[in-house]
């Protein structure tokens, strides 16, 4: 049973087609990178999968259930590209926000999660008083605290310093490999694609490529689409890490 199944998904915004007849599946335990140029519909796809936006047509299934019937939201940890409506005067402390939606507050779990993101010292600070990078780490901690089975990240590291970014990716890799957590990562960072993701979904309003990284590197179609140089750069980064997927 796939963790995510998308069939013929189409979404328009004000009459403009943003994604068109997209279909793919994500199996359990996969580390998927969703890539594509600006405006290719990556974030829109994620929002449709999570029910934030309603598609014009098509079907989404999460953990084998239609989105309309899905209720096990604790299985999913989501980090948006940016908070759509954060009011800097919001009086929530870091501890309150990280524990948001937890049915039972667990101080030990909170402490572990904050320490994991190196924000243990910020627990009592208000979210609006933090830097953007710190806020992003708080939101990562929030996505991770439930130890979800599926993590969906939309450009998660844009505000992070290189060191924290590496810590973040190493953590996602550890969760994926050791705990079998499925990861779907929207990113522009081709280096990340090569280093961590086994699967690749290339979007440009529709699915240009969906498959394993190895298939992508071997695909003559993709060479034609990207050009040999671009494809080589991505695949060479992959080779240089020696992860050998």
């Amino acid at each position: 049973m796939p963790v995510i199944r998308v069939e013929n998904l189409t979404f328009r915004y004000n009459g403009t087609e943003v994604i068109n007849e997209i279909g793919f599946t994500v199996e359990r335990g996969v580390y998927l990178a969703v890539v594509g140029p600006n405006g290719s519909g990556k974030s829109t796809l994620v929002k449709n999968i999570l029910g934030i936006l309603k598609p014009e047509k098509g079907r989404v299934e999460l953990f084998g259930r239609r989105l309309e019937d899905f209720s096990s939201w604790e299985k999913i940890g989501y980090l948006p590209q940016r908070l759509s409506g954060l009011n800097i005067h919001f009086p929530g402390t870091v501890a309150e926000i990280v524990q948001m939606g937890l049915p039972k507050k667990d101080p030990a779990l909170l402490s572990d999660t904050l320490d994991m993101m190196a924000i243990g010292h910020l627990g009592r600070r208000l979210i609006g008083d933090l830097s953007y990078g710190e806020q992003q780490r708080v939101m990562l901690a929030r996505a991770l605290i439930r130890r979800p089975e599926l993590l969906i990240f939309d450009e998660p590291t844009t505000a992070l310093d290189p060191e924290t970014r590496d810590v973040f990716y190493a953590l996602t890799q550890k969760l994926n490999r050791q705990e079998g957590t499925t990861v779907a990562l929207v990113t522009h960072d081709s280096g990340v694609v090569g280093q961590y993701a086994q699967h690749l979904l290339y979007l440009d309003k529709k699915v240009i490529f969906s498959g394993t990284f190895r298939d992508f590197c071997a695909s003559a179609d993709m060479t034609g689409f990207f050009g040999a140089t671009s494809q080589h750069i991505i695949c060479h980064q992959h080779d240089s890490t020696g992860s050998g997927r």
Binding site: P80, S84, N87, P91
Partner: protein
């Protein structure tokens, strides 16, 4: 006249109790509204209330039940503001402006049809908590109980929706249902607040306690409790001073809310300066 004598009057007791309940309801809802940039919804709904009261007075409803009778129209207006805003093509301030101006226009037109402004309508413009009747007291108690229950039961969901609506939706929060509940309760709160402070000052009851509590820079739950405390404190001080100095109670309540805000703001600045 000492405090004991003042509190011995049944109408003062009723005013204090109803005022405290309505102020608490307004403060609780006000925090969510202010943080979601719907601060001026109180103004918009108050203006709609003006139109609604004009309708009820025109059809000859007993003044005893005017508050109750005005409710449905104001609730519809509140939902209209929400729906206009949900379309994403109209911002909150513009949506409130549309509904607000329509409410005033309806009020003026209907007053004109009924032979011009009358005393009853003017009494709603400026409010008078000291004239609160038994129906309104009971209504205040019911509304307080409902709002307290909703905030308690949906606390986590309200927190999430106020923090970020899209994130809340990705957590499975039924944001649409929650928003409808919030806007309907706000409508009820605005109609009741009209009795306390008058149509002209309804938004003060929604905004000022929340803003005062936000100055404390404490967590969400504490901010909510503090806002309620400031609101209730302002009602007690306002009614007391109004009674002793023979001034309008609604205006005095708002003045005390503003005084609390200035005090907390000043103290915070003082401490920040010494930090």
């Amino acid at each position: 006249m000492d405090l004991g004598e003042i509190f011995a009057y049944a109408f003062v007791q009723r005013a204090m109790l109803a005022g405290a309940l309505i102020a608490a309801v307004s403060a609780l809802l006000g925090l969510f509204l202010v943080l979601r940039r719907f601060s001026l919804i109180g103004d918009g709904l108050a203006h709609t209330t003006f139109g609604s009261v004009a309708v009820v007075l025109l059809v000859g409803v007993s003044p005893f039940y005017v508050t109750l009778a005005a409710l449905p129209l104001v609730m519809v207006s509140s939902l209209a503001i929400y729906k206009l805003t949900s379309s994403k093509k109209i911002n909150a301030d513009a949506a409130i402006g549309i509904v607000s101006s329509l409410g005033i226009a309806a009020g003026i037109t209907l007053s004109s049809l009924s032979g011009g402004f009358n005393v009853d309508l003017f009494s709603y413009l400026f409010g008078n908590i000291l004239t609160v009747n038994r129906t309104e007291l009971v209504l205040s108690m019911i509304v307080f109980a409902v709002v307290a229950a909703v905030v308690f039961y949906y606390y986590d969901d309200l927190f999430a929706v106020t923090f970020d609506q899209e994130l809340a939706r990705s957590m499975g929060v039924q944001t649409e249902r929650l928003n409808v509940i919030l806007f309907l309760l706000t409508a009820v709160s605005a109609v009741l607040a009209m009795k306390v402070a008058g149509i002209m000052l309804v938004s003060a009851l929604l905004i000022l306690p929340a803003l005062t509590a936000l100055q404390l820079s404490v967590g969400f739950r504490t901010t909510m409790i503090a806002a309620t405390g400031f609101a209730v404190g302002a009602v007690f001080c306002g009614i007391l001073f109004a009674f002793v100095l023979n001034l309008p109670a609604g205006a005095m309540i708002v003045v005390f809310n503003a005084v609390f805000l200035l005090l907390v703001f000043g103290i915070r600045r003082l401490f920040a300066g010494h930090g």
